[in-house]
């Protein structure tokens, strides 16, 4: 196999580049606005709604959807499911980019972004769950970076250091799973401090567990979803090894995701029963909750199960898309829609165009960097010098 080092898109002016370029330019303008005018003029945030879409989407969804990194590497290196090997690199790369962008996006939301290292280096508020999130995300970002470096070193041809890093794989993987467990669940735990603000159907002392379990489903679904996307767009970058295992990974994760979603549905139902919140189901919010639970948890769970049984790839891919949307829906519900449910409609939050613009900008940035890296470094293919050397 030849190293597809230079067969990127032929012309620089294809549709993708034009659209992405336009978004990036707009994003830069909004960035200037944000940092010269302050948060107030560019967002719909206010004293009642201090957290908007930059937290609800960029942070909560970003972190959940980047969970493919730890789920895949755990499946491969800890659970010893070797057929997941080909999926590890794309997943690690996505996770690394995901987290890097989460931190990047935070810069917009924080009042004094340059103080982001303060909680760790200046004044440690250890009673805060946000402290835990911050610490774990920082450490995990480092872990992901190290896990990603072998691909970079192969691209650069630095053999010795690559070998050292590859030796650390297991330790890094375990460390990554621990850190992910902690911060994925802490994101849910952030909201346990505000029982009076979050609707009872979503509020639960078990929120940390909910967030953790749903992140596993989200991570697996993202690997499937993204794998099939890349399959279409980046097929030329994939080697036989990757392609051979692709379907196996999809079926394996599809099966696991069905189980996880089933468990998630079960513990969520237990949560409602535990607090005896059944009566809320017959209300507007009840409808929202049922939509989430039936449409975005039970349905993909079922589709995954059937898809795996019938060896139906396209059904599994559909299920993965529904699950990904479901995670976004859930995080939106917790952080925005069912949050502050007690406020009168006039005081409720809806994101401004600028806020949405920045979020779109950041996602686009992620896709552009992902393309840049996958069209150059050995992500979907094994570097010829290191064949079978893992």
């Amino acid at each position: 196999m030849s190293t597809p080092a230079s067969n990127g898109p032929k012309s620089a002016f294809n549709t993708f580049n034009l659209v992405a370029g336009a978004i990036l330019v707009v994003g830069l303008i909004l960035t200037v606005l944000r940092f010269t005018q302050g948060i107030g003029p560019v967002t719909n945030l206010d004293d009642n709604n201090p957290w908007g879409i930059w937290i609800g989407f960029d942070l909560l969804c970003g972190v959940a959807l980047a969970a493919g990194g730890y789920t895949t590497s755990a499946a491969c290196y800890i659970f010893g499911l070797k057929r997941f090997h080909s999926a590890v690199r794309p997943a690690i790369l996505t996770a690394f980019l995901g987290y890097a962008l989460v931190v990047f996006a935070l810069q917009y939301d924080l009042g004094r972004p340059w103080r982001l290292p303060y909680p760790i280096f200046v004044s440690q508020g250890t009673t805060s769950l946000l402290f835990e999130v911050g610490l774990c995300v920082m450490l995990y970002l480092t872990v992901l970076f190290v896990e990603f470096t072998p691909a970079m070193f192969e691209w650069l041809g630095w053999k010795k250091i690559r070998k050292v890093v590859v030796k650390l794989t297991l330790v890094l993987t375990i460390f990554g799973v621990v850190l992910s467990t902690l911060h994925q669940s802490s994101l849910g735990a952030l909201y346990t401090i505000a029982p009076s603000k979050l609707h009872p159907l979503w509020y639960s002392p078990y929120m940390p567990l909910y967030f953790f379990v749903s992140s596993i489903a989200a991570g697996m679904s993202m690997v499937i979803f993204e794998g099939s996307m890349s399959h279409k767009k980046l097929h030329r970058m994939m080697d036989e090894e990757y392609l051979k295992h692709h379907d196996g990974v999809v079926f394996g994760f599809g099966k696991a995701a069905a189980l996880v979603l089933f468990g998630y549905f079960f513990i969520k139902t237990m949560g409602v029963a535990y607090d005896n919140n059944w009566h809320y189901l017959v209300s507007g919010y009840g409808l929202l909750f049922l939509t989430e639970m039936l449409g975005f948890v039970a349905l993909p769970c079922f589709l995954y199960a059937v898809g795996v049984r019938d060896r139906n790839l396209s059904l599994i891919k559909k299920a993965s898309i529904i699950t990904v949307l479901g995670i976004v829906f859930n995080r939106f519900n917790v952080s925005m829609i069912a949050f502050n449910y007690h406020l009168p409609a006039a005081d409720r939050y809806f994101p401004s165009m600028t806020e949405i613009g920045i979020s779109v900008f950041i996602v686009t940035l992620g896709v552009v960097i992902f393309r840049f890296i996958t069209t150059r470094m050995p992500i979907f293919f094994e570097h010829p010098d290191y064949k079978g050397d893992h």
């Binding site: 297991l170 621990v178 603000k197």
Partner: protein
């Protein structure tokens, strides 16, 4: 098997997340610093004159509002505190029987804002005040998410140095032995400053003396684990915009379970994962060895078989050869003898040669 282990672990995580909450709540109850100060607000005495608002604005050197504090028309709107206003008075009830309620930071005994802040920018002082230190604040606004009373506000228009703004119970004035600005200015003694313990006694006494005038509840005595500001009212607190569903758990109690799970996850997870790794590696090794053995056996068996077949074949070939030679010899002898007897028949010869070929 792996899947089952995994689900079992999830179960363990579930137990881990739920148990410490109970264990922790029992031993850790903070009822405030002894002798700490507070304020008692009596809604039955408040006349909505906004003198406290004006005083707060003055002592905290906040920007002048658009409409003056004498303008009582603003009482018809529902207002909340903001970055330029640390306290507001709102009007509730009916036009004939208006009830006024002042709101500001309640200075919780165990403040949600302080426990939420990841740089410890908020601190509960022994005198009761909850104060903010802008020199470390990152501006994440989690404190605002956390406060159940919706008190901390933010300087959203400040691009570089936004601060979280709220009442600090005039901590600096207290240090100088002065009353908080609002308390000092209240013409109706709707506000009473004093030791929290004392205030509770005063409040109980008022309720006892005028049971018809008051709702039998001191708001803030237990809400969210107790607050340094407390309230008396003649109408249900819900009707003057105060939530009655906050419960008596303090913010740290609410998050204790999640925090307590951290060391457990950090301690247990690597061990469990390491175990799973060991098992899966051992499985892989066993499977590997078995596979190798099977392959070796197969090869051994195959080669043995091959050998046997070969030698059989050779043997057979040998026998066949011998027999053929014998046959040939016999034939040759027979043929050598034959022509003498049956020379004239040519067809026989053809038949013979055919036999030879086969």
């Amino acid at each position: 098997m792996l899947r089952r282990t995994f689900l079992g672990m999830l179960g363990a995580a579930c137990v881990g997340a739920s148990l410490p909450a109970g264990a922790e709540a029992a031993g850790k109850e903070f009822k405030g610093y002894p002798g700490s100060k507070g304020v008692l607000f009596d809604a039955t005495r408040c006349i909505g004159c906004r003198k406290c608002e004006a005083a707060c604005n003055k002592v905290n050197k906040l920007p002048k509002p658009e409409k003056s504090f004498d303008d009582l028309a603003v009482l018809d709107e529902r207002r909340r505190t903001d970055a330029k206003t640390h306290t507001v008075v709102n009007k509730y009830g009916t036009p004939e029987h208006p009830v006024f309620r002042k709101s500001q930071c309640n200075h919780c005994l165990e403040p949600a804002c302080a426990s939420a802040c990841f740089v410890k920018a908020f601190k509960k002082l022994p005198n009761g005040a909850v104060v903010y230190d802008e020199s470390v604040c990152v501006g994440c606004r989690y404190c605002m998410v956390a406060c159940p009373f919706e008190i901390p506000t933010y300087e959203y228009d400040e691009p570089l140095t936004p601060r979280v703004m709220k009442c600090d119970m005039c901590a600096a004035r207290q240090d100088k032995g002065q009353l908080p600005g609002c308390v000092a200015e209240c013409p109706k003694e709707a506000l009473v400053f004093g030791e929290r313990e004392e205030l509770i006694l005063i409040a109980r006494e008022r309720i006892r003396r005028n049971p018809d005038r008051y709702v039998r509840h001191i708001y803030g005595e237990d809400e969210m684990g107790g607050t340094s500001w407390m309230y008396l009212s003649g109408v249900p607190f819900k009707e003057i915009g105060m939530r009655e569903d906050l419960g008596t758990k303090s913010a740290p109690e609410l998050t204790a379970g999640a925090l307590a799970a951290v060391p457990m996850v950090a301690g247990l997870w690597p061990v469990l994962l390491g175990g799973i790794y060991a098992v899966s590696k051992r499985n892989a090794k066993v499977a590997d060895e078995e596979r190798k053995e099977a392959v070796e056996n197969a090869i051994a068996k195959a080669s043995a078989e091959a050998e046997k077949t070969l030698s059989d074949a050779l043997e057979k070939a040998d026998v066949a050869n011998k027999r053929q030679i014998e046959v040939e010899v016999k034939k040759a002898v027979e043929e050598a003898l034959k022509p003498v007897e049956e020379e004239p028949e040519g067809s026989d010869e053809a038949g013979n040669s055919e036999k030879e070929e086969s």
